[in-house]
Subunit: 516 residues, 2 copies
């Protein structure tokens, strides 16, 4: 019987400059003399330790010493940053145990109901990058398919909100509005915030950047002003102007959602429970006390039928009430894009036209923004129910909303040279005479994304016709803008295969499921 | 309106020598001037084309030109091999559409029943490496949680069998046996094959290698003989000896299973439908007409309760009957490992002791092998029901099974220098006086795996005590063998935390759920 002692053999840490997109990945040379690379591989994950710190990572075996030499351990960007020590540092590795919370995921797969602690554990493990993407996929599918009951959604929301920072504005009415997404060009926040802030109500709006959609509020605002505000700056802007339009990323609010999206989007799954927990946890973490939720309904919207919209509304209300948020839901017309532009520059143009009372301003964007702003204003106990719309219109038409927007832009930091629409353009034409009877939101999003939005601010789509418009064969329906040749060709190629527009008889014009 | 034309810009192909373990991965430099790397990333997958051939791959963005330069496209091992062109070749990339069969997966998530065509599509897409690991995880969890009804399992089995090659032996009785796995040391195939072949019945056994268990039949047979047989060689051996013990990998039978295992194991999910489809599709592809399935039941076996074993038996019977396979199921005692050795060398030693009628031979392995061989022999219409066991025992005790095994070893190619048990050893001792009341199969598998089995043939565990044995405090329960220091320490570390043995009173000795 031989004696055994603790191994004193370490690997030398190396940074492998690869962005593995929300997954920790480690690289070990197949000729490593200390650890048997293949022995780790089938179990998929290893635990890397240095001092008292450790991270989990999926293992890839490398055969090329230019990437990782035998005796080295390579870590891709995210894992390297998380470990937080310098290249060349000695590290040890071990077979990783499955993250403990995967037991809860397996119970969910088996059909169990999860407890508040289960959601806390799962959330913490994912935020600490202990899950591989396949484990995240397992959790998302299990929660989607088995369904989360409304109390589970509540626990999940709470766990997500607890997983990051929280903002506290020290006021009793902190307003916010949020749309569940899916409708191109729907940039009402950039109108609601200046209107509401001009009234004096606090509305510190933090938004996400688009991931696979062609523009988020943060991307669009960035055409006009700085949006990456450090916490102190954010507070200064809000204190001075009563509102802001900033990117929420720097504030680290409910970070779980930003990670899961890397799995949700490629899988194309979007469950109600996940949606409610994602949105409300962000708002809870952002310190909102009063919240207006916009649920657009339409054949190519996220929510396609009225009964689903009502179901979603009830779930928002149930969870919101129990979190102590004053929450209201409006169901809106989601048949087609809002406004004309799709993509940051084009959407910012629409917003500024509305604020400037430009006769060219898209009236649907104006109407929707006034309606939402009116509802937010009615959170103010001094405003009589039903009078919010008229007050919002007064603020907009008097130029006070524009003045407030300009003040917010100045406070956040104005962009000196505003980007322009992309110079590569292509117009998609009607194939027959008739009326525009429907526009496919999903397809318009996809064309604008392929064109390069939101990374190229000027890329996107400019709609020249909307539902109900009469068109002649050969007349332009919309214009694609791009800056990058490869992107331009991808976007034009898709539009050529499917324009996203249906042209037909007047009597077939799609009617809205709700008043627009 | 600008003119557009097809892009003639290509990337230069580069092989990035990384084994990404059953996932196609591509690498693009963030400074690439032709394609915008980040634009592809969120959607996760790209399609790489050259001539009329294309592959899908998950994209990683690289910041280091030593890995991939701007203007190059890197492909990891599997994707590079699949594309099948030389480094430096010009390739194009495009945004990949989600594999079409993911629609079926999303329907399964939503609770739908899938059609034979759905399973064919899913199987083909996965075998062609069109799924990312998270997509495979989504499919597995959806199929597991929502459940597959028995007709879906039948469709799935058929689709899996169709996904690879098929063997045809041109005989009316082609026997096989298969255990669902999970029990360490359970190497009965290496006894059943020589017994049955010595009788003259055709039994061309192809087995898998262990993935996360410490030894498969192919790994253990490889201690004695070549197992990587090319199709012609395989047929020659079988025609000459009426049996073989070869690795099934070279024959490319139902390859889907070998891919999915890269996701199933790390997730730790193992559904009945998946198990039945995996096993029967392999057997169908291997040309078996008569099949004996071994389902061990025990507290730490894959199947833990008798009613589950019966449920699984019915599912095997339902699918087997509809595939035209003569199928029988035996439910066996799965309380503890079979024989003494765990790991290729130690298990091969047990098998040879039984064949050599060595008085040291583990009697449980002998008994179980005779029982199974007897049942297989009864597939022969000339053998009276119930007399198989005695015939098997005659064949074994007369030395005819040993002679047949040696002939098979010669035919496949004998290993001249048989590997020996690992030289690093550690004995795990009883912490108290008493009786061995239970042994944890899962833990013994894990200790032997950590020790380096099956890669190090001599690594593993040698059991010195079994359930029911009396032990004194300090007496050795089992011996760990390893060849590699790091592995040795991992295995000893685990055994120190949990030996896997429960020592207690005689009256608490675990009793078998079925006759052993």
């Amino acid at each position: 019987m031989s004696k055994r002692k603790r191994s004193s053999e370490h690997l030398k840490l190396r940074h492998v400059a690869v962005d593995t997109y929300h997954e920790n990945v480690a690289y070990l040379n197949s000729e490593c003399a200390i650890y048997r690379a293949e022995g780790f591989q089938a179990l998929s994950k290893i635990e890397i330790s240095v001092n008292n710190h450790n991270v989990l990572a999926v293992l890839n075996v490398v055969h090329d010493p230019k990437i990782v030499e035998p005796g080295e351990l390579g870590l891709a960007d995210q894992a390297f940053e998380q470990l937080g020590v310098e290249e060349g540092s000695p590290v040890r590795i071990e077979h990783a145990e499955r993250p403990r919370s995967m037991d809860a995921v397996r119970r969910k797969i088996a059909g169990d109901r999860l407890s508040p602690e289960d959601f806390q554990d799962i959330t913490r493990d994912i935020v600490e990058n202990r899950y591989s993407k396949m484990e995240m996929a397992a959790f998302l599918v299990a929660a989607h398919q088995g369904g989360l009951d409304r109390d589970e959604v509540l626990y999940y929301t709470q766990a997500m909100a607890d997983s990051g920072q929280r903002l506290d504005w020290h006021e009793s009415l902190v307003a916010d509005k949020h749309c569940i997404g899916g409708i191109p060009g729907n940039r009402t926040s950039m109108l609601v915030v200046p209107i509401v802030a001009a009234h004096g109500m606090l509305i510190p709006k933090t938004s996400s950047r688009a991931i696979t959609s062609p523009a988020g509020t943060a991307d669009t605002m960035e055409v006009l002003a700085e949006v990456n505000l450090q916490p102190k700056k954010l507070h200064d802007v809000v204190r001075k102007e009563r509102g802001c339009l900033a990117w929420g990323g720097t504030a680290n609010l409910a970070p779980l959602d930003d990670i899961l999206i890397a799995v949700e989007r490629p899988l194309g799954i979007d469950a109600m429970g996940q949606m409610v927990a994602s949105i409300l946890s962000k708002k809870l973490a952002a310190g909102s006390t009063h919240l207006l939720i916009d649920i657009p309904v339409g054949q190519t919207a996220k929510i396609r039928r009225m009964h689903e919209a009502l179901q979603l509304r009830k779930l928002f209300e149930y969870v919101g009430d129990r979190l102590g948020v004053h929450l209201e839901v409006v169901i809106t017309d989601g048949r087609q894009p809002v406004g004309r532009g799709i993509g940051p520059v084009l959407e910012a143009r629409d917003v500024m036209q509305v604020l400037q009372i430009d006769p060219e301003a898209p009236s649907d964007l104006r109407q929707k923004a006034l309606r939402l702003a009116g509802r937010v204003l009615e959170f103010d106990p001094d405003i009589r129910g039903g009078s919010g719309f008229a007050i919002a219109r007064d603020i907009l038409d008097s130029g006070r909303a524009l003045a407030k927007m300009n003040a917010i832009i100045q406070a956040q930091g104005e962009i000196s040279e505003r980007p322009q629409p992309g110079e590569l353009t292509f117009e998609v034409a009607a194939v027959r005479d008739g009326f525009v009877i429907s526009i496919n939101n999903l397809l318009m999003n996809r064309v604008a994304s392929l064109a390069g939005a939101p990374m190229d601010k000027g890329a996107g789509v400019d709609l020249l016709k909307k539902i109900g418009d009469e068109v002649s064969k050969g007349e332009s329906l919309y214009r694609i803008h791009a800056q990058f040749k490869a992107d331009f060709l991808f976007a034009c190629g898709l539009a050529e295969r499917d324009s996203g527009y249906q042209i037909g008889d007047e009597k077939h014009i799609q009617i809205p499921l709700v008043d627009s």
